[in-house]
Amino acid sequence: MNMTTPSAMPRVPAQETDALPEHETPWQEFLRIYKKDRLALGGFYVLIALLVLALGGKMLTEWWVVFDPETVRLPDKFLPPLAVPSEAVAGTDQPFGGVYLFGTDELGRDVFARMFQGSFVSLSVGFVAIGISLVVGIVLGGLSGYYGQVRLGIMTVDTLIMRFTDAMMCFPTFFLILTAVALLPPSIYTIMFIIGLTSWMGTARFVRAEFLALREQDFVMAAQALGLPEARIIFRHMVPNALAPVFVSATIGVATAILTESALSFLGFGVPPPYATWGNILSDGKGFIFDAPWLFFIPGIAIFVVVLAFNLVGEGLREALNPKLRRR
C-alpha cells in the first residue's frame, strides 16, 4: 500500500457525509431556483442576446457604412421587408447584404439599421435612468436608515428625507415626467435624468427599511465594535446586504423606463433626432400603419419582447432571492 497516493488521504467516514445535507452556497442555491423558472431563464437569454445586439449595433452603425441608419435613399422609400434596393441607389448607399431586411421608411432609410442603432439607445436610456434612480435611492435611503436619528435643527434627517420622499410620491409620475420633459430643452440626457429622478422613491424606501433592520444585526455591531470607519461599514457590510430587493425593482424599472420613453415619444416628447430609439421609430411608424405596417409592427414587437424579458427576469430574481417564498 502506497501512503503517498491521493486515494489514501484521510477520508470523511461515509455515514457522516450521508447525514449532512449537500452544502450549497447562497449563489448556487440562487442559480438552482432561478434555473427552474423556465420563463425567467428564457428572458435571461433574450436579454443576453439583446446586450450583444446593442453593443454590436453601436459599433457597426458607427464604423461600417452599410449599417448607417441615416443614409437617405428617396427612390427606395416604403419598401417592404426583404426588398432589394432599386438601381437608382448608389453602390456606397447599399444596405447590408444588398437587401432591406426590415424594409425602409418614408425617407428610404434602412429600418434594420435604425432598429440596430436604436437597440443601443433604448437600452442606454433604460440603464442610465435606472442607474440614476438607484444612486439617488440608495444614498437617500441609506442616509435616512443609518443617520436617521441625527438632528438637523427642528427635525431629524430621517423625517426630512422621508417627508421629501412622500411628497415626491404624491405627484402623478407620468404627468410629472411629461411636464419636466416638455419644459426642459429636448435632449436624450434630459429624458434619462427626468425618468431617473422621478423613480427613486421605491428604492429609497426599500433601502431605508433594510438599513434599519441591518443596523441591529450582530455583524454590524461587531464591525462597529472593531472600530471600522463608518464608510466601510456602510458600503462594505450593509449595502451589499440591502441590495437584493433593489436589484429586483431595478430590473423591472429598466422595463418601465423603456415603456415610458416610448410613451413620451408617442406624445411627441421622446428622444429627439438624430438618435433613433425603438420608441420614436414606433411612434413615427404609426402614421404609416396602412401603407407601411412594418414600420409600426417591427419596433412594437421588439419593445414588447424586450420589456417582457426584463419583467420575466425581474420576477425570476424576486422568486430566487426571496427567502420567504423559497421555503415553500
Partner: protein, 320 residues
C-alpha cells in the same frame, strides 16, 4: 383613534404644503416660458411680451408668484394663461368627462382581476394558471398605445365600435336612447384599454396574496379537520387574502389624472389627462400646477382613506 386621525391629517397638511411648493418651483425653475410659446410671430413685439409677463406676474420673485397662485386658487380667481377662463370650472368640466372612463375602467379591473387571480391561486400550476400569468406579463410589457392601435385597427373596424371622442358629431338631435347608446359605445374600447394593465397587475397581486394565505398553518388545520376544500378556500382563506385590497380603494383616486394622459390622447377623449397635456404644450402654468396640486390632494386623501379603512376592516390593527 381620534388623536391618530387628527395627527395624520395634520401631517398630511404639512406634506401638502411641501408638495404645492414643489409643484410651483418645478414649473417656474424650468426654462420654458408662456411668453415664448410663439417666438417666431413677427407681431409679438418686445413690449407685448413685457405686457404679458407683467399680466401673469412672471417678473415677480418666486415667492410672490407662489403667494399669488395660492391666493387665486383659494379664492377661485385663478385664470388660465391661454384663454383667461377660470381654472377650477375648466378642470371640473374635464373631470366630469374623465369620470365615466375612470369608473368603467375601475369596475372592469376589479371584476376581472379578482376571479382570475383567485382561480389561478387555487389551481396553482395548472394550464390556466400558467396561461394567465404569461398573459399578465404580456399585458404589462406591451406599450399601451401599440396595443390600442391594434385594437382600433382590428376590433373597432371589424365590429364597427366608434372610438374617437366622447360622442358622435351631430347626434344632438337624435332620440335620447340613441344618444345614450352612442355615449356608451364610445366608452367601451378606451376604458377596456386603460383597464388591461390594471387587470394584469392586480390579478397577480391577488394570486400571490391568496398563495401567501393558503400556505398558513391555520389553513392546514382547517383542511386537517376535514373541511371541504370549497369551505376552506371561500370561508377561511378568501377574507384574509383580500383584506389588503380594501386599502386599494383609496389608492385608486390619483389614477384619475396621471393614468389617463396616453389613453385620452389616443382616443381623443376630452378628459383631465388631455387637459394637462394641452396645458403643457401651451405652457399654461396655472392649469399644470393646479392639476399637480389636485393630484397630490387626491393621493393624500387616498392614502388617508386606505389607512382608516384598513383599521376598520382588520381588527388586528390598532391605530395609535
Amino acid at each position: 383613534m381620534w388623536s391618530f386621525i387628527l395627527r395624520n391629517i395634520l401631517q398630511r397638511l404639512v406634506l401638502l404644503i411641501i408638495v404645492s411648493f414643489m409643484a410651483h418651483s418645478i414649473i417656474h425653475l424650468a426654462p420654458g416660458e408662456p411668453s415664448e410659446v410663439d417666438p417666431m410671430n413677427p407681431r409679438m413685439k418686445p413690449e407685448d411680451i413685457a405686457k404679458i409677463r407683467a399680466a401673469f406676474h412672471l417678473d415677480d420673485p418666486l415667492h410672490l408668484q407662489y403667494y399669488y397662485w395660492i391666493r387665486d386658487l383659494a379664492t377661485g380667481e385663478l385664470k388660465s394663461f391661454k384663454d383667461s377662463q377660470p381654472v377650477l370650472p375648466k378642470i371640473w368640466d374635464r373631470f366630469l368627462n374623465s369620470l365615466p372612463l375612470f369608473v368603467l375602467a375601475t369596475l372592469l379591473v376589479w371584476t376581472w382581476a379578482f376571479p382570475t387571480g383567485i382561480y389561478g391561486a387555487v389551481h396553482r400550476g395548472s394550464g390556466y394558471d400558467r396561461f394567465t400569468i404569461f398573459l399578465a406579463y404580456a399585458l404589462i410589457s406591451i406599450p399601451g398605445f401599440f396595443l390600442s392601435y391594434l385594437v382600433i385597427l382590428w376590433v373597432a373596424g371589424w365590429l364597427g365600435v366608434p372610438v374617437i371622442g366622447i360622442k358622435t358629431f351631430g347626434m344632438d338631435q337624435a332620440q335620447p336612447i340613441y344618444r345614450i347608446m352612442d355615449r356608451v359605445w364610445h366608452l367601451v374600447i378606451p376604458s377596456l384599454m386603460s383597464a388591461l394593465g390594471g387587470i394584469a397587475i392586480l390579478s397577480r397581486y391577488v394570486r400571490s396574496q391568496m398563495l401567501e394565505v393558503l400556505g398558513q398553518d391555520y389553513v392546514r388545520t382547517a383542511r386537517a379537520k376535514g373541511l371541504e376544500e370549497d369551505t376552506v378556500v371561500y370561508r377561511h382563506v378568501l377574507g384574509n387574502a383580500l383584506l389588503p385590497f380594501v386599502t386599494m380603494f383609496g389608492l385608486l383616486l390619483p389614477g384619475l389624472i396621471g393614468g389617463s394622459v396616453i389613453f385620452e390622447q389616443i382616443f381623443a377623449w376630452p378628459g383631465l389627462g388631455r387637459l394637462g397635456y394641452e396645458a403643457i404644450l401651451s405652457r399654461d402654468f396655472p392649469i399644470i400646477m393646479t392639476l399637480n396640486f389636485i393630484a397630490a390632494v387626491l393621493t393624500l386623501a387616498g392614502t388617508f382613506l386606505s389607512d382608516i379603512l384598513y383599521a376598520v376592516v382588520d381588527p388586528r390593527i390598532r391605530l395609535q
